[in-house]
């Protein structure tokens, strides 16, 4: 367990709404981030991720709770005294200053000696690949270049923590993917903790050491990308990340096997294991991701876990086929199968029926509705 660099305890923030009433942006959040970690705050708009970022950087005053940075309580320390720097979504480059003066700003306000200041500015610009553009003004730069200047400006002061507020959202797809890789490399090179905010789950899954999924001011789950994807802690995370088929039902045990019976009569077979112990009563939700299905033939009885569906649509998406349909009870199901299963797919398209096989051991069970601690 790496040592933590920043810790929030019980962080709360409520905002008044212009039309009256209030909204809870942060609901007693506890968070611990390790040194050199690349943590992503992920969630839909309004979930509180930007507020959380602003609380850490100091632009937002918490109503309750505390923040520790490297062991020091910074809850009441104003933004300009926190060794935390931010890369803003709109870059916020000073339009009346050249690239050189923008990047060197943090050093200029702390009166660093000129030689050292120039050296560090040069190094930061080189690190983001913009060496030689010192004299340009922000409006003479492209979007990607502006973004790098914002990055250079934020790292030149060697902050303990770098906050990035959806920095790639304004870039086009190719540039964004290239920048994702560059950011990852930069983080490794600098050895600084990055806290990254995004609403793009693909981005989060690609870049992060850990992802914190937020919703309504609460951390729903915080775990590695793999775990968040394979083992979502509640239905929100399950639906927010990736596509999923959710089946809510009551668990039944027979012959040492576990099954879930839904209201519509569908039966899902699952396997109990040390980390999947649904209670005997109450309802449990089973999750099957579309790619966990494979097509079975009509005479195929090898697999005992299968689902028959009526097919509404088959969609060709290049390397895969998407099969959209519903069960006899009317519940919608989507499956993704590789295009190589071309024969079975033809059969499905003719008969408008499909048998979807799955592995019971890979069925993920969600017992809780609330956020995972």
């Amino acid at each position: 367990m790496r040592e933590s660099i920043i810790r929030l305890e019980g962080a709360s923030k409520t905002f008044p709404l212009p039309e009256g009433g209030t909204v809870v942006a942060l609901d007693r959040i506890d968070l611990e981030v390790s040194r050199n970690e690349f943590l992503t705050l992920l969630g839909p708009s309004g979930c509180g991720k930007t507020t959380l970022l602003h609380a850490i950087s100091g632009f937002v005053q918490l109503d309750g709770g505390a923040i520790w940075l490297d062991g020091e309580d910074i809850t009441d320390v104003p933004a300009h005294r926190r060794p935390v720097n931010t890369v803003f979504q709109n870059y916020a480059l000073f339009p009346h200053m050249s690239v050189d003066r923008n990047v060197g700003y943090a050093l200029d306000v702390s009166h660093v000696a000129k030689a050292e200041r120039d050296r560090r500015v040069g190094a930061a610009l080189a690190m983001v690949g913009l060496g030689g553009l010192e004299k340009r003004m922000p409006r003479q730069l492209s979007g990607g270049q502006q973004q790098r200047v914002a990055l250079a400006r934020a790292i030149v002061a060697r902050p303990k923590l770098l906050l990035l507020d959806e920095p790639l959202s304004a870039l086009d797809r190719n540039l964004r993917q290239a920048m994702q890789i560059e950011l990852k490399n930069l983080q490794a090179e600098l050895g600084i903790t990055f806290i990254f905010v995004t609403h793009d789950q693909e981005e989060a899954l690609t870049m992060s050491d850990r992802i914190a999924v937020l919703h309504k001011g609460v951390i729903q789950q915080i775990d590695t990308p793999r775990n968040v994807y394979d083992r979502p802690g509640n239905t929100f995370v399950a639906t927010f990340i990736g596509a999923s088929n959710l089946f809510e039902g009551t668990p039944r045990r027979a012959d040492g096997k576990l099954s879930l019976v839904t209201a519509g009569g569908e039966v899902i077979h699952a396997v109990e294991s040390c980390n999947k112990h649904p209670p005997d009563t109450g309802s449990v939700t089973a999750m099957l991701r579309p790619e966990q299905f494979s097509l079975g033939g009509s005479g195929d009885t090898r697999s005992e876990a299968f689902m028959d569906i009526i097919v509404e649509q088959t969609v060709f998406v290049g390397s895969n086929f998407e099969i959209l349909g519903h069960t006899a009870a009317g519940r919608k199901v989507s499956a993704v199968v590789p295009a190589s299963q071309v024969n079975r797919i033809a059969e499905v398209e003719d008969t408008k029926r499909a048998r979807l096989n799955y592995d019971p051991a890979s069925v993920h069970l969600i017992a809780r509705q609330g956020p995972q601690a």
């Binding site: 933004a79 000073f94 339009p95 943090a106």
Partner: protein, 302 residues
Amino acid sequence: MSALTRTQRLSAQLGILIGPASLFLAVFFICPLAIMAIYSVLAPGTYGGVVWDFYPHNFGRILGFADPDFEIYDPVYFSIFLRSLKIALITVLLTLLVCYPAAFQVSRLPERWKAFGLFLITLPFFASLIVRLFIWVLILKKTGFINVALMDMGIIAAPLELIYTDGAIILGMVYIFIPFMFLPVYASVEKLDWSLVRASQDLGANGIQTFFRIILPLTLPGIVGGSIIVFIPALGNFIVPAVLGGAKVLMLGNLIEQQFLSARNWPFGSALAMLVMASVLLLLYLYIRFEARRGDEAPAIR
């Protein structure tokens, strides 16, 4: 109408629209100014007319190169010019300092309060100038509000000399020019991108540094615009010194007025007016250069 071609028809339309105003301004604006310029280098007649001789000594009386046989150079004129300059500049500065924080606050208010605040600022602009000055006479004079209140409360024994001072003039001018300064400054302040202020703080700058490095430079256009709009009428003003300065404080405006209505030396008065014009034109020229240099940096590359 179809006898005329389309071009002829359009030209006629343009002529009708622009003609009258252009003619009017040419006759009643440009001509008078030109004549005044000519008068400034003519000699004054004995009983108030003009003598059509080239006479540079009007300017000489002011600036110092008088004909020693005829006029004695009186430095009082130039000192009046300097004093007017000084008062105008102090007025600009004070008006700016008074308006800037208020403009800031108003720009941070919710929408409806903002509109109301702007309305409150512009409303006095529509009240007559003379009324707004009259108010201060009532407040500052020997038997005015302040003196009466202070004496009744026993704080002073004899009335204070508040009116008919440089201070009273500056106070009056600031009061009158607040709407002129507030609106341009407000326009600039309102456009300020607050994320830049946050970025500055994020990078370690405290309030003062953020103000001088970010806020001030970015609101400079409004400041400069407002300053010019205040300076121009402040320099040549004669109403405020007449009302609040009495006979004691003489500014350029009063001097000019005297030349035209009592001393009847129109050429000299014209020369003084030319001095005011020259100052204003110089200021505008500097402003245009300032604007050009700002926008002169190489255009955006996309």
